[in-house]
Amino acid sequence: MSIIEELSNRDRVFEFLTPAVSPVDTRHGPILYMEDVNVSFDGFRAINNLNMTIDDGELRCIIGPNGAGKTTMMDIITGKTAPDTGSVWFGSRHNLLTMNEPEIATLGIGRKFQKPTVFEALTVFENLELAMATDKRVIPTLRAAMKAEFRERIGEVLETIGLQDLRNQLAGILSHGQKQWLEIGMLLMQKPRLLLVDEPVAGMTEQEMERTAELLTSLAGKQSVVVVEHDMGFVRSIARKVTVLHQGSVLAEGSMDQVSNDPEVIKVYLGEEA
Amino acid sequence: MLPRLSPPQLAFNRQDIIMSILRSLTLLLIALVSVLSLPASAQEDDPGKALLNNLAEVPASRVEEAINAIVSSGDERARGWLEAYGNNRLSRIDDTGQVVIVLNNRGRDWEIANPLTGENMGEMSRRELDRIAINNRIRGQLEGILAMLDLNATDPDVREASAQDMMGKVDASLVEPLEAQLEREENASVRNRIEEALAIYRVGEGNLEAVDVLAGSLHPRARAALNEAVRSDNPALADKAEQALASIEQKLKLNRAAETLYFGLSLGSVLVLAAIGLAITFGVMGVINMAHGELIMLGAYTTWGMQQLLPGQPGLALIFSIPAGFLVAATAGIIIERSVIQFLKGRPLETLLATFGISLILQQLVRTVISPQNRTVVTPEWMSGSLVINDALSLTLNRLYVLAFALIVFAALMMIMRKTRLGLEVRAVTQNRAMARSMGIRATRVDIMTFALGSGVAGLAGVALSQLTNVGPNLGQNYIIDSFMVVVFGGVGNLWGTLIAGLSLGTINQLLEPWAGAVLAKIIVLVFIILFIQKRPKGLFPQKGRAAEG
């Protein structure tokens, strides 16, 4: 019955009490670094010699028409898709191409999907609990106990995403916008160094958008944030630096005004918008 | 009990037979006339009667003589009698002692005919009838005798066949007449046969030249003869035969390889047939239809039903049951789709459970409605026997047809999927349901059609399988798992994959079988598939692009 003792051993210091700061080394240079990345699905070139760097604490917006390769790019960064060629570095130490999703996630890259994906069969509270930066290995997870400080932490996040009253509702019944928020909340729980946010404001009301904008901007600095968004208004409201993707490679980069005046961009992108 | 003949006695008899046959042939015309002019009353003094009674009465040990007596009588009805005798159709009526030919020996009352006049004598309780006993040994000799008779047939094929029957059956008594036959015979292949037949005998006699004749032959009996020669105490003969065998073995190797390949393909074709319907319902619609096997079963039972409707014409019935089987299974499929599956959209694992229930119901239905027993499905003439490439390599016809059938069905399906409107719609719906809908494709209708198609094809498989295996309530179960293996191995949603997977799995299985044994071979294949799925979770030919992710 030693297991039981083991389990009920209260004065054991659990790994997750030690703050989860990822050992990412950004002393010299960017936090994310992509070079000559190429991906093709049965002949179709989704990513084409993509080169991009994200600096530590930066808030970057990425825009581009459908099929420009935005989502694919995120897949590559998060380890979902392996590129055919090229290199992707997280900080100056971690070669992301050698890692799988969980490792990359624990390393400190959080991702919000285009289509909000939360655990519908779990409550809002539980969703956040699972997202919390703790020891994610099997046995510790089995033994994990709900400590007061966790409740506080979750409480704070609930505060930020404004879902306090819904904490015990199944995430399945949330509105589209609320799911978006919950997912963002889950990202916050992860305490990532780099957030990849795919179309965060789709299906949000005006004020919801504003709050999202505030949130994201407030995050920047502490963490690096990469936002993929179609809504130009929103992009303009948060963007400091904008990257335009087209046919899998960088078409233009710069401030919103620069890119939106770039003839190339207007042709392929804003042109369509207008 | 059974006759123990000493060869000389037999030889003596054979001598008679041959002579008499030749005589009988010359007498034929006269005999013919005589029988035409024969008044019914004159039956009493019909020599045939005595002959038959004799055959019926003599103790088993002297049956030969009785037979010979019949043959040498030159009576042209002899052949009919002997055949009837060979088929256990010669009986005698207990009380009158009259010998009769049994036309139909099913049920309690048997239909009989008079062997002399051929007139039908109506039915008679089997209690009243007493079968005239025959056994394999006598039957073997009968075949020899009848073969001799056939050597004079006008149709060269018949002559060749009979000459082939002679192989290994030749003995001293037959040599002379056969040589005579050889003189008369002008058809080359028939001559070859007769020569081989003679050679087999001569090798047995220790004749060296004869070995050369057999050296080229792949015929098992020739090999048998040589094998014996090898064991003979005449060293010269022995090692000559040895060499001959060696050369034959060389040829055989090739033939065996070809044979195994054929076995593999044929098994593969069965797998493909069984699986291809599933490839549609499972692969295209994502429905895990555990009742697929039972749909196959329905097809098989349709064949049986057809043969009941068209008694005596199994071939025709089989042809008809191809469309019939398709329709029956397809209808069943539609019913299943409407009554159950449509409620389980996008819940594949649930469809698995529901359809499993359906399969149980269908099985029990057949058990109660038809019978728990297996049903007899007759193989039509043109499908039984085998296509002889050479003496060592012959392809069983029924499997050959099934193989062809499988390929045709596959081709047809490809056509439907590629060329027809339905195929287009099906692909559209599988790619993106909502989009297809919005483009005015009636998705539900497409579902029904697809499922019907898949089920129908299962029905076709059943029709084919009815020619290879049991038609019974468990028919389906024996194929369902294999079918899933094939589909998954080939790559879901990919017909080509299913074809390749089926054929290759079949071949692998047959290649393994000789040294691994049937069971182990199957196990190995299963394990192989399991491991393969680990390597390539989406099978041989995975569905490409985003559609597959969905």
């Binding site: - | 088929n87 020996n105 209690r127 098992p220 728990p372 297996n374 069983t396 049937a518």
Partner: protein, 436 residues
């Protein structure tokens, strides 16, 4: 009325409900029928259930026995081996039946055996089997290997002159044991090892191409070759089909089957099979009045003109009559009394002779060799001059050479070792339980 009984039974199975038969007791003699009515074995076993029911009806028409009616208690073990044991217990413990007729497969018998022995019941087992067993409580009315396999092989050897043997069987204990016995027997007869080919296939094996072509090859070695088939039920159809198509006729390589009877043939187009052999102790085609009466009865009972009879049915016919006789003799249905009384009882079989219950709980049977005819029947081509007594322990297996069974006191032992002069443990234990 059995229906009602079973509803009750269900309830009692739910537990905590009345054990019904306390009241219902005595008057009728209860005959338990333990044959699968569903599942894979239903094919073979359903007819046996009907047979017993028919026999019971007949017996009752004749006024039952000891002035008591007989009553059938039917349960369905559904071709599920553990369920056999459970249902046997149900019959004996809940229903308190006086005797059980049942089982087909060896495995089902093996699973029932401990139950019947524990609850001291009576079981009549009607199917030919591998032997190597003799239980105080079981009566084996089917053939033991020496009543089927060995005579058949003798026939092939002496009358057909077979020198080369293929022993093909389904991979389970009956073929395994039978082939072991035959192998030893053939070798004792001076057959060389390389002249024996043994092959096992799984249940319901359907692809025989390779094996049949092997047999063909094996048969072309210049010696007369025969196949001794212990292939089980379903696998036979494709097997014979393949034989026919690969052009192996009965006169080239005869196949003698031990598990193919009229029942199985009714599912095959026998055209290509004419002349192949089967060895049984009974054939439907046997020309005896007893048989014809039985057949008429059967056709009447089933109401199907095409209905066929087969060997296990005869076994039940014999077993049933033996039981009746034994009960009359003992004047009671008390199990132990009947067990004593039945030894030595002999009743007419359907082939015009008599069957006697031997002290080893096996019976005497004639052995018939039949040739398949185109009407799905067998025609008898050979039979043993006199009946053969079933041998529980084969003389051709090392383990059991010295064992004999005799259930008469004082020996009273299912596996008495003539070498050591001691009784095998299992039986000893039974005797011990007896004593308690």
């Amino acid at each position: 009325m059995t229906i009602r009984k079973h509803v009750k039974l269900g309830l009692s199975a739910l537990a905590l409900s009345m054990s019904l038969n306390a009241a219902a007791a005595e008057d009728p003699i209860k005959v338990g029928i333990l044959h699968s009515l569903s599942g894979t074995m239903a094919i073979s076993e359903t007819v046996l259930k009907d047979t017993v029911e028919m026999l019971i009806a007949k017996q009752n028409a004749e006024g039952g026995v000891l002035g008591r009616e007989l009553e059938a208690v039917v349960v369905d073990p559904a071709s599920n081996w553990p369920l056999f044991a459970e249902k046997a217990r149900e019959l004996l413990a809940q229903e308190k039946v006086d005797v059980i007729f049942g089982n087909w497969t060896s495995v089902s018998r093996k699973s029932v055996l401990p139950v019947v022995e524990e609850l001291n019941g009576l079981l009549f087992y009607p199917v030919q089997y591998e032997g190597e067993e003799s239980s105080e409580n079981v009566f084996y009315t089917g053939a033991a290997p020496n009543q089927q396999a060995i005579p058949a092989v003798d026939y092939l050897m002496n009358n057909i002159g077979v020198e080369r043997w293929v022993l093909a069987g389904t991979d389970y204990v009956y073929p395994r044991t039978t082939n072991k016995i035959l192998e030893t027997y053939l070798m004792d007869q001076g057959v060389a090892k390389e002249d024996i080919m043994i092959n096992y296939t799984p249940f319901g094996h359907s692809d025989w191409q390779n094996i049949v072509s092997d047999i063909k090859r094996f048969g072309s070695a210049g010696k007369k070759t025969a196949v001794v088939s212990t292939i089980n039920g379903d696998a036979n159809v494709p097997f014979y089909r393949e034989l026919g198509n690969q052009g192996i006729s009965a006169s080239d390589i005869p196949v003698v089957a031990f598990s193919v009877g009229e029942q199985e043939l009714s599912g095959i187009d026998t055209g290509p099979l004419v002349g192949h052999l089967a060895a049984w102790n009974y054939f439907m085609s046997v020309d005896s009045d007893a048989n014809y009466d039985f057949i008429d009865q059967w056709i009447e009972h089933t109401g199907n003109e095409e209905a066929v009879t087969n060997d296990p049915m005869e076994a039940h016919y014999i077993g049933f009559n033996m039981y009746i006789e034994a009960v009359k003799k003992a004047g009671t249905t008390d199990v132990d009394a009947v067990k004593d009384a039945i030894i030595g009882v002999s009743v007419p079989n359907l082939t015009g002779g008599y069957a006697t219950m031997m002290p080893n709980h096996h019976i005497t049977k004639p052995v018939l060799i039949g040739e398949i005819q185109d009407n799905g029947q067998f025609s008898v081509v050979w039979e043993t001059p006199s009946t053969v007594a079933g041998d529980a322990w084969s003389d051709f297996l090392p383990g059991s050479r010295d064992l004999i069974a005799d259930w008469r006191k004082p020996m009273f032992c299912g596996s008495f070792n003539t070498a050591t002069g001691k009784c095998g443990a299992s039986a000893g234990e039974m005797a011990a339980e007896e004593a308690e």
